[in-house]
């Protein structure tokens, strides 16, 4: 049993009602919530104080053109809000925000996060081609968390519930919509609103089938997709359509730098050095440093990657960036048994142990004669 509120009806309507309820609390100002753009088109986050805008909102949007953690970061990077706002986020957005809060890029105190069972989202490009029909299909598959055609990374996402937000919205595999407080702060707010009820926890079995399907997809990613990039040649052919626009980096919630190292003056060398490089490699592809950028970014960020897939969505040339990242980060995180956005520990790069990772050292037991 846990503290929470129960709604009947559609999940989206329940979330909107709940957000409006929260906005009535004296210590809460406004909400950050996805809203469908006016004419036919995409969705975007709106920061609003008006309940009418919340009425018009779509809490569970079928696409994710902007990662919500970036929104929270934009709002509170320099200073916290005077009073917290409600933020309705997908689970991966919550994880990204939590990861960013460890490095002072998001002030979590400024947001009461609400998250939900996520069926995944469509790739933005395919959604825009056929928005109305897909939206319809999305609504149909929502409660069963089975929407076909969602992004490959969503299909293999195993952290699809809202349990790491302040409020978790559960609807998959059960009849009603249960909104459960997952933090002390959330419990206090419910009590303050006089709405706290004892709510039963959802049986794990209710979503077991979904979890199994996602795990299977993840396995497939780890084997089938891994095979597609298993050699440098294959990797480079996958990257061959990359135009070095670095869109993937600019939409990434975790890439928090003001200026990326790979965009900086550091990589702008004098012309004769390009010639030196070209002459020892037989030639030099332009724009140069594609592989360096991708591998370098993996070194910087793969430990913190929440596998939200936004990068791949933003790629103009269909480079499977997010799958590359997911594949790598699965392995790098395993070294430290670290899960970004869920672990409370700081990033493994900020910690160390005196005795560890000996298998990565090269022993020297015998001197050469």
């Amino acid at each position: 049993m846990a503290l929470g509120v129960i709604y009947t009806g559609e999940p989206e309507a329940a979330i909107k009602d709940f957000v409006k309820l929260l906005m009535k609390h004296k210590d809460i100002q406004g909400a950050v919530i996805p809203v469908k753009m006016e004419r036919e088109g995409s969705y975007a986050f709106v920061f609003t104080k008006s309940p009418e805008v919340v009425d018009k909102s779509s809490p569970i949007a079928p696409v994710m053109p902007v990662q919500g953690a970036r929104v929270l970061s934009k709002l509170t990077k320099r200073k916290p809000l005077t009073k917290p706002a409600v933020a309705v986020l997908k689970p991966c957005e919550v994880r990204a925000a939590r990861e960013l809060s460890k490095i002072n890029q998001v002030c979590m105190e400024s947001f009461i996060t609400v998250s939900f069972d996520c069926p995944g989202v469509y790739p933005t490009k395919s959604f825009l081609k056929n928005a109305d029909a897909l939206e319809e299909e999305f609504k149909k598959g929502l409660k069963g968390l089975s929407v076909s055609g969602v992004r490959p990374l969503c299909e293999s996402c195993t952290y699809f519930t809202g349990e790491f937000a302040d409020f978790e919205v559960q609807f998959a595999g059960i009849n009603e919509v249960r909104i459960i407080a997952r933090s002390q702060r959330a419990e206090a707010i419910l009590k303050g609103l006089g709405k706290a009820e004892e709510v039963e926890e959802r049986d794990k079995k209710a979503i077991e089938a979904v979890l199994e399907a996602r795990k299977k997809a993840k396995e497939a990613l780890k084997t089938e997709f891994a095979e597609k990039v298993s050699t440098p040649e294959k990797l480079l052919s996958v990257l061959s359509s990359c135009i070095n626009c670095h869109n993937c980096r600019s939409v990434c919630p975790i890439c928090f730098c003001r200026e990326c190292f790979f965009d900086s003056d550091s990589l702008k060398t004098p012309p004769h050095l390009y010639l030196e490089r070209a002459s020892r490699k037989g030639g030099l592809r332009f724009m140069p440093d594609t592989l360096l950028f991708h591998l370098g970014r993996m070194n910087h960020m793969s430990l913190s990657c929440v596998s939200c897939g936004t990068c791949e969505d933003a790629c103009p040339n269909m480079v499977p960036v997010s799958r590359l990242f997911a594949l790598v980060s699965e392995r790098t995180r395993a070294i430290f048994d670290y899960v970004p956005g869920i672990d409370d520990r700081p990033s493994p790069f900020l910690e160390y142990r005196e005795e560890e990772l000996e298998e990565y050292e090269m022993p020297y037991y015998e001197a050469r004669s």
């Binding site: 809203v35 753009m37 006016e38 975007a44 709106v46 609003t48 805008v53």
Partner: protein
């Protein structure tokens, strides 16, 4: 479109040497002009980046006035020629966005011509009043 009681919000970018001085003089001479204009001083009309104009319009201004020295009178010799080109460009951009290019006005107001300044402001305010509120400011997605 035109509502009763609509008070347009107008941003005026005035060059330091001519138009701003004219506005100064207008004050000293106690010339009356509509209170709808919010004046921003720039060193030269060429300092007004088209981005400033668009930003003002997107964030709720109903009209933008750019005023500077007369051609040939520019304190910096040729700044106002660039300003003229920039404003022309901006108008074209607005047009293609479906926004009335009339919401932007470029005017030459020499330092000594305070009455002309008051006149320009009056005229522009009226023009905007007729055009009605800027449709951009009501939209969440801009």
């Amino acid at each position: 479109m035109s509502e009763k009681g609509f008070e347009p919000k107008i941003v005026g970018f005035l060059c330091y040497w001519c138009s701003y001085t004219a506005a100064d003089l207008a004050g000293i001479s106690r010339l009356k002009y509509p209170p709808n204009i919010r004046i921003i001083r720039v060193m030269c009309s060429s300092r007004v980046d088209p981005v400033f104009i668009i930003k003002a319009l997107l964030d709720g201004a109903d009209g933008v006035l750019v005023a500077g020295c007369k051609p040939g009178d520019c304190h910096y010799q040729k700044g106002n020629y660039y300003a003229r080109r920039k404003v022309a460009l901006t108008k074209k951009i607005l047009e293609s966005l479906g926004l009335e290019p009339e919401r932007v006005m470029l005017s030459w107001v020499p330092a000594s011509e305070a009455p002309k300044f008051a006149e320009v402001v009056k005229e522009f305010t009226e023009r905007i009043r007729k055009l009605g509120p800027n449709p951009m400011k009501e939209r969440v997605f801009v």
